[in-house]
């Protein structure tokens, strides 16, 4: 029984990270309909900023909490600015272009970000300094660490705050309106341009929080981590139903569960991708619009 709980903690931890990454992806998708291939690159950018700020901070102070909060703040603001700038420069001219051109543009943005970081800081992996105090706990036989618990707590708090923001604030209502029908929202006096920029900024902030949690779980970061994160967030978001925040959360936790359970259940752990994607394909064949996605009625 303890084994089950042990793995449950692992699933929730990994799932929380995937969920955050997927939410950032899904938010942008919901507003602008963009399959954002630069999402992983933004996460990578956030991770690098956190790395540099926290290494600098540790020279001044030893308080882990202060370092975490300050580096996260700096990284979140910086990546939000960069992402909004990218949106203005690269995506905005394509507002009326075919969807695919915007996707290809995001591929280009991802390439530029990835290789700029590579040229600035080298291809060698960097070790992220510990962002949280690590102590081991033993709760009724279930071994866990404070890092795992903090990761879970931070991500759940982020999701609750985001949910409140979207449900209760004026800006959140505007976000939902644009995601539902941009043209009608525009008629109601909502500036679609502003809202799109806001969605990119929020997406980047959530991606940065995801990056912090990802890097505290897998401390080695290099310029290429974005590629893997891209697939993860893309898959989690689509599995849940693209554009739906709740769907992205569900998809993230499911992906975490698959990633933890598949190697345990299989005789050869290196086959886990086959099982994970096999399940994904079957799930989509049964429910072609994702688990929580709405059925689209095609107009003729």
């Amino acid at each position: 029984m303890t084994v089950v709980f042990q793995q449950l903690v692992n699933i929730i931890q990994l799932g929380s990270i995937y969920a955050l990454l997927a939410i950032g992806f899904s938010l942008v998708y919901g507003i602008s309909g963009l399959v954002n291939f630069a999402h992983g690159a933004i996460v990578m950018f956030g991770a690098y900023t956190i790395f540099f700020v926290s290494t600098m901070m540790y020279k001044i102070t030893n308080a882990t909490f202060v370092v975490f909060v300050v580096s996260l703040l700096v990284a979140a603001i910086l990546s939000a600015l960069v992402f909004v700038l990218i949106e203005k420069l690269a995506y905005k001219p394509l507002r009326n272009a075919p969807k695919v051109s915007v996707v290809v543009t995001s591929v280009g943005v991802g390439l530029i970000l990835e290789y700029t970081m590579l040229n600035l800081f080298g291809a060698a992996a960097k070790r992220m300094p510990a962002l949280f105090v690590n102590t081991n706990y033993d709760i009724l036989g279930v071994k866990t660490t404070s890092v795992k618990l903090i990761v879970i707590a931070v991500s759940i708090i982020t999701m609750i705050v985001l949910n409140l923001f979207i449900k209760k604030t004026k800006m959140g209502v505007a976000l939902r309106a644009v995601s539902q029908d941009p043209v009608a929202a525009n008629y109601m006096g909502i500036s679609t341009d502003t809202i799109t920029s806001v969605s990119f900024a929020i997406g980047a902030i959530i991606a940065t929080i995801g990056a912090a949690l990802y890097a505290s779980t897998y401390p080695m970061i290099d310029p290429y981590i974005g590629d893997y994160i891209n697939w993860c967030s893309f898959i989690a978001a689509v599995l849940g139903g693209v554009g739906s925040i709740a769907g992205a959360m569900l998809g993230g936790y499911l992906l975490g569960a698959i990633n933890i359970i598949a190697p345990l259940a299989l005789p050869v752990s290196s086959y886990k991708d086959i099982v994970a994607f096999g399940i994904l394909i079957i799930a989509l064949l049964i429910k072609p619009t994702g688990l929580l996605g709405k059925k689209i009625n095609q107009k003729v």
């Binding site: 399959v35 291939f37 690269a90 001219p93 394509l94 272009a97 075919p98 695919v100 051109s101 915007v102 996707v103 290809v104 543009t105 591929v107 280009g108 943005v109 991802g110 390439l111 530029i112 990835e114 290789y115 700029t116 590579l118 040229n119 590629d227 891209n230 697939w231 893309f234 898959i235 689509v238 599995l239 693209v242 050869v268 290196s270 086959y271 991708d273 086959i274 994607f277 096999g278 994904l280 394909i281 989509l284 064949l285 072609p288 619009t289 994702g290 095609q298 003729v300």
Partner: protein
Amino acid sequence: MKKNKILLEILFFVIGLGICITLQATGIISSAKLLIVEYIGIYIIAVMGINIINGYLGIFAMSHAGIMAVGSYMAGLAGIYFFSSQSTFPLAILAGGLAATVIGMLIALSSFKVSGDYLAIITLGFTLIIKNIFQNWQFVGGANGLKPIPHNTTLVWVFIFVAFTFICMKRFVNSKYGRVLKAMRADSVASELMSVNLKKVKLVAFAFSSFFIGIAGGLLAHLLSYTNANSFGYSMIVDGMIMVYLGGIGSLTGSIVGATIWQILVNALRSIGTYRWILGGIILILVMIFMPKGLFGDKELTWESIKEFFARLKAGKKKKTAIDAPHEEDE
């Protein structure tokens, strides 16, 4: 007129073949440059194949890396065990193409029910599953990849395959199926009402496209003498997409230009290091902003279009000097 055209095509083929043979035999250009030309040829084949699904059919698919891997491994195995000599080498490539066709049809089955970004994920899943299988399958070398595959791909063979692919593609695109593909991209419901069998067309398009992507994979394996599943991952998916959309969705000549530009950028500009990827990204964004449909859009570069272009150029010059009122109305 039509006879003239065919003669012209044969003339081009012979001239191209002659150039390739001289390049290969005399060693005018270094072997490194020869390799780049061979890469360009191979990717032209692959990109034309990808263009059938992503361009003409308008499905945002990411399965090409997986399909290419299948073609590459199958052609490699056939080359090692059955057709190892230079003369039987096309049969090995053909085997790769056929194996890829089977996988492509399997992927097409999932496109019957799922569409849009969900289909994109399914095709991505296929690629990653195929990659994972090859990485773990000890018979084909596992994580070390398959080697040694006989090195039989030469520039002449690449040229012959490119010409073969181009002719097949041109016939296909102008055939009944090609027109139906365009109709489906424009409006799948309307074309279904026009009694188009959507499933059959998708199956044919995927099979046809996969065959050529598989051939490109096979040629690549026989060029490098090895193949490794790792090379058919993220970068191959992204590269394939870039080349198709850069050249123009729904344009064969666009595919040729897209593949050529990108391969030159990736291979010939090694001197500027990884900065070439940044340059590539910038080019990509600029092309997409100013020409959202790619360099060629859905137009083909033909003799007629070149003539028309020059005619318009002349007309434009005339307009500047002496204003021609009826001409302006035409424009």
